[in-house]
């Protein structure tokens, strides 16, 4: 594979870092300027990342080495097809969420907005860093930055409950990070490198037992961020955060970064071959299948809209990991496609929940009956997102789920095909009542005339909803998610099995 040396990844990272500090220094004195920095940084960052897309599509790799740490160990960005998917997703949705945040925070007149936007920019800095990192050490660095930056966002409300949620978040994620650190050190000790390689690089190093142990600790570590059961507890608690943060947590940065890291480990550190030789994928697949089913059943019982969405996220994250764990061509494609597609759909849902909260201060589904009358645009977008997660064409969720199912068939694992299908069915079971209630029941607690949230809140929702359908119809348009996923799967499987 050809390598292009370019400072573009670094510049893309600096855009949000500098943006973050400009936000901090501008502060409350000039709100419009501060928000301008957010948007400017977001747009520049997305532009820089998108500018690397042509290289990646031509099968090249963009590399930038910052500094050597130790023999064979660098702080290094290396942008490949998989990283590109996540980087494009995170940086594009940052623009959308920024717009939304501005509307949301101002409508609610939230406190500490400067800290909020600062930490938001830092969180995206971390997330995109995770995407662009060329090796585990660099990835870990941004992973930790992301964790710390998000802490302030989770605890943003500063109520005792929010502080508790923040502590819980840190407790889970920092413990996870310690596991990652251990696994990373052992991996480096065994192989002398931490550079990602499609198809993995640990093959032939270390004994079966050690590799199995390291894999398990890796999965516990990154799994804490990807909210695999039973280490998911922090995620529903973190719903206390402002809605744009939840949107960020779920759709863009935090948990997606967790899943991204899991996939990096599964596909680029261990690789399909080692995974199937050692039989490691079987326990992993069962754990995430368990998570899928149980999270869905719990979601059925939740009346708090954001909590229901949180459990839906837990379910979808595990689906992604399951797709990768099946070590089949289509499974990997489906998993990689589900990262951006789920991002678009889930962010729509969360932003809808936020819009409802901004306008009506309602958080419980039972209070939202008939809200379709008051907020038709929002609820239409919600419907699109919900149908997409259920896997109904032409929304993009269908495409990724289709490939995931094909992957299960390719791996000849009917039981996991059933898991995918059951999850789609359960998705329908907890989303459709919301939609039904919103449109077909008489409003009891909300107004029965048109009264939408402000432009800044509604506009991003419309964009992501349209995006969800658009990518369903043209999965390869604009950001070429489809091509990227296909190329990654080819690289991984080509070199692996």
């Amino acid at each position: 594979m050809e390598t292009v040396h370019s400072a573009t990844p670094l510049l893309a990272m600096l855009a949000s870092l500098i943006g973050a500090f400009l936000i901090l220094f501008t502060g409350e004195r000039n709100r419009n300027l501060r928000e301008f920095w957010t948007l400017a940084a977001a747009v520049i960052k997305f532009g820089l990342i998108a500018s690397m897309l042509p290289y990646i599509l031509h099968g090249k790799i963009v590399e930038y080495t910052m500094v050597e740490i130790y023999k064979g160990l660098f702080l290094q960005f290396r942008v490949d097809t998989f990283g590109m998917i996540f980087a494009l997703l995170a940086s594009f949705l940052w623009i959308v969420v920024s717009l939304y945040s501005i509307g949301y925070m101002r409508d609610l007149n939230e406190h500490a907005q400067t800290r909020y936007f600062f930490c938001f920019a830092l969180a995206i800095f971390g997330a995109v860093g995770v995407a662009l990192a060329g090796n585990l050490l660099t990835l870990y660095m941004f992973y930790e930055i992301l964790t710390v930056a998000t802490f302030a966002l989770v605890a943003h409300k500063e109520t005792p409950e929010a502080i508790k949620a923040g502590r819980k978040y840190l407790a889970y994620l920092l413990t996870g990070a310690a596991f990652v650190l251990f696994s990373m050190a052992v991996t480096y000790y065994l192989t002398g490198t931490l550079d990602f390689k499609p198809g993995g690089f640990v093959a032939g190093h270390g004994s079966r037992e050690i590799l199995s142990l390291v894999f398990v600790t890796f999965m516990i570590g990154f799994g804490s961020k990807a909210a695999i059961m039973p280490i998911h507890e922090w995620l529903p608690s973190a719903m206390i955060a402002p809605t744009p943060v939840s949107a960020l947590l779920h759709a863009v940065a935090v948990v997606k970064a967790g899943v991204f890291c899991c996939l990096r480990v599964i596909l680029y550190v261990f690789g399909p071959k080692v995974l199937s030789d050692l039989g490691l994928w079987i326990p992993l697949a069962f754990v995430v299948s368990f998570t899928v089913i149980v999270a869905n059943i719990i979601a059925l019982t939740q009346d708090h809209l954001k909590r229901r969405l949180a459990f839906s996220t837990i379910n979808n994250l595990s689906i992604i990991i399951l797709g990768a764990a099946l070590v089949s061509h289509d499974g990997i494609r489906g998993a990689m496609l589900h990262i951006p597609f789920h991002g678009f759909m889930k962010i729509t849902l969360f932003m809808c929940a936020g819009a409802i909260y901004v306008k009506t201060h309602k958080e419980f589904i039972s209070e939202m009956e008939g809200i379709g009358k008051q907020m038709p645009i929002t609820m239409a977008a919600f419907t699109i997102g919900a149908l997409g997660l259920t896997g109904i064409p032409p929304v993009c969720g269908f495409i990724s789920k289709w490939y995931l199912c094909l992957g299960a068939l390719e791996a000849k694992e009917i039981i996991f095909l059933l898991v995918f299908l059951a999850s789609a069915l359960l998705d329908a079971a907890y989303f459709l009542p919301i939609i039904y209630g919103a449109f077909f029941k008489k409003p009891k607690f909300v107004k029965d005339h048109f009264d939408e949230a402000s432009f800044f809140v509604v506009f991003p929702i419309v964009i992501t909803a349209i995006g969800s359908i658009f990518f369903g119809l043209f999965p390869d348009a604009f950001m070429h998610f489809f091509k990227l996923a296909v190329a990654s799967a080819k690289n991984i499987m080509g070199m692996g099995v």
Partner: protein, 501 residues
């Protein structure tokens, strides 16, 4: 060339200037601070010059004091290891001196300022000397210079400092005696005091029991000075009650220089195989470090006084360095040496911040830090950098030394130590996020969406510029040391590790 005189100048300059400073203060007290800063600037130049020479020549610099040839005369030997420590000490001392001016003027009575500045210089003299010397007895002398100035300067602190200082005197003197006894044993056995000479003579005496006793005396003596568990008992009181500027100087530097001495004695004076193959020194040190870190973490958790918490943290950090030594391999020792430098910056960062908070609010109680992020945003920003470094979040430097320490324990297959390293960073996270939570978050009622502020009366009220600049530079140092740790290792530390590893 003048550059060749730097090893002597770096010790002699602050020594002489301390007397000049004291004399000048009778005439004009205002000149004290400029003299201090100028002297330390000169020392910084010397230190960097020495490091530059060492890197260029690639081998140790030998400087014979007074032209007397070793092993009879005193020799200063500077290799990669102590050149690095010299630079770190010089940088941190300079930054703390810059920071000290405003703080001491507020905390100490005006009449005590000249003594403070004089002792500051003497302290730095001692630290430079300990680091630069290649002679066991000369090291003792300089250790006592550093210690005695430390006793005096700590006693200037708040209520109870005199008692803490007295306790420190007792412990410190026991430590010094132990060290001196160790020197005596070696002198009786070999007839030499020169480190390089001893390194030649000692392997022949490896099975001599008296040598082992001497070695044990060294460990205990230096162990007391560096505040290693269980010999740390003097440390929390002394450093907590000392004036802010003093703890900001002593806490980062003295203990770490002690760690340097341990490494020097174990790996240069005594052959590494003495403590690896011959006696289970490394195992003992490993256990001590593990228990010490656990103990220090628990004690730190129990503190509500931020400064006292940090003092226990030093004990834990010394444990990390000992873990690196106990791993007895290249990676572990790299981590230990890197951690000496990193920890100097980390502790300087945290202790200067505590001093700044004291300066502005008069309290160190973590639970009284509310609204601090409004009044002192910059100080707290610096604190967060230091805290994250101790917790081990990259790209702060603390992570990188921990990374090598972890690799070292894996290579040595010391799983207990590995566990201690990982677990203690979690405890550190609890320690520091407790502070961050109290300082940044303002718990409020369930649905109280206060319009921005809520407490408009609380406004920006930062410490003076000199303190801010110093703290910001230390924070920047923490990040730069982290990002460029590879450069330091490549050019300096890899040569500082014994070749046999």
């Amino acid at each position: 060339m003048i550059q060749e005189q730097f090893p002597a100048l770096i010790v002699v300059t602050p020594l002489i200037m301390s007397f000049i400073l004291f004399t000048v203060s009778w005439w004009n007290k205002r000149l004290c601070f400029p003299i201090l800063l100028a002297t330390l600037s000169a020392c910084l130049v010397f230190a960097i010059g020495i490091l530059d020479m060492v890197i260029k020549h690639g081998q140790p610099i030998h400087y014979h004091l007074g032209g007397w040839d070793p092993p009879w005369g005193i020799e200063y030997v500077i290799d990669h290891l102590n050149a690095l420590v010299l630079v770190a000490v010089a940088v941190v001392a300079w930054l703390v001196a810059l920071y000290a001016k405003s703080v001491v003027e507020k905390e100490l009575h005006e009449s005590k300022l000249p003594q403070f500045y004089t002792l500051f210089l003497l302290q730095v003299t001692g630290l430079f000397g300990i680091t630069a010397t290649g002679d066991m007895f000369n090291l003792y002398v300089l250790l006592e210079i550093a210690s005695f100035s430390a006793y005096a300067i700590i006693a200037m602190g708040e209520r109870g400092a005199d008692f803490a200082a007295f306790r420190y005197v007792i412990f410190g003197t026991i430590g010094a005696c132990a060290y001196l006894l160790g020197v005596g044993y070696l002198y009786i056995l070999t007839g030499s005091l020169n480190m390089a000479d001893l390194a030649q003579l000692i392997p022949k005496l490896f099975y001599n029991k008296a040598l082992l006793v001497g070695f044990a005396f060294f460990l205990v003596g230096v162990g007391i000075k560096m505040g290693i568990f269980p010999l740390h008992t003097w440390l929390p009181d002394a450093y907590t009650l000392a004036p802010s500027a003093v703890s900001a100087l002593l806490a980062p530097l003295f203990t770490k220089v002690g760690a340097y001495v341990i490494i020097r004695i174990m790996f240069t004076v005594f052959d590494p195989s003495f403590s690896i193959k011959l006696y289970p020194v490394m195992d003992i040190l490993g256990w001590i470090a593990a228990i010490g870190i656990a103990f220090a973490c628990i004690m730190a958790l129990a503190q509500s006084d931020l400064k006292r918490m940090l003092c226990y943290l030093i004990v834990a950090e010394m444990g990390y360095i000992v873990i690196g030594i106990a791993s007895a391999n290249r990676l572990g020792l790299t981590g230990a040496i890197l951690h000496i430098v990193n920890d100097m910056f980390m502790m300087a960062c945290l202790f200067t911040v505590v001093g700044a908070i004291m300066y502005q609010t008069g309290t160190r109680n973590i639970y009284q830090f509310r609204y601090l992020h409004r009044t002192m945003p910059v100080t707290l920003g610096v604190f967060v950098v230091g805290a994250l470094s101790v917790v081990g979040v990259p790209p702060m430097c603390g992570f990188f030394s921990k990374w090598y320490l972890i690799l070292g324990t894996i290579e040595a297959k010391k799983w207990l130590l590995l566990f201690v390293l990982l677990a203690s960073s979690l405890v550190n996270a609890i320690l520091f996020f407790r502070v961050i939570e109290n300082a940044y978050l303002e718990p409020r009622g369930e649905h109280a969406f206060a319009h921005d502020g809520g407490h408009p009366s609380i406004s920006l009220d930062e410490v003076p510029w000199s303190m801010l600049i110093s703290m910001l530079m230390i924070a920047a140092g923490i990040i730069l040391l982290g990002i460029f740790s590879g450069v330091i290792i490549k050019h300096v530390i890899q040569f500082a590790v014994p070749a046999s590893f």
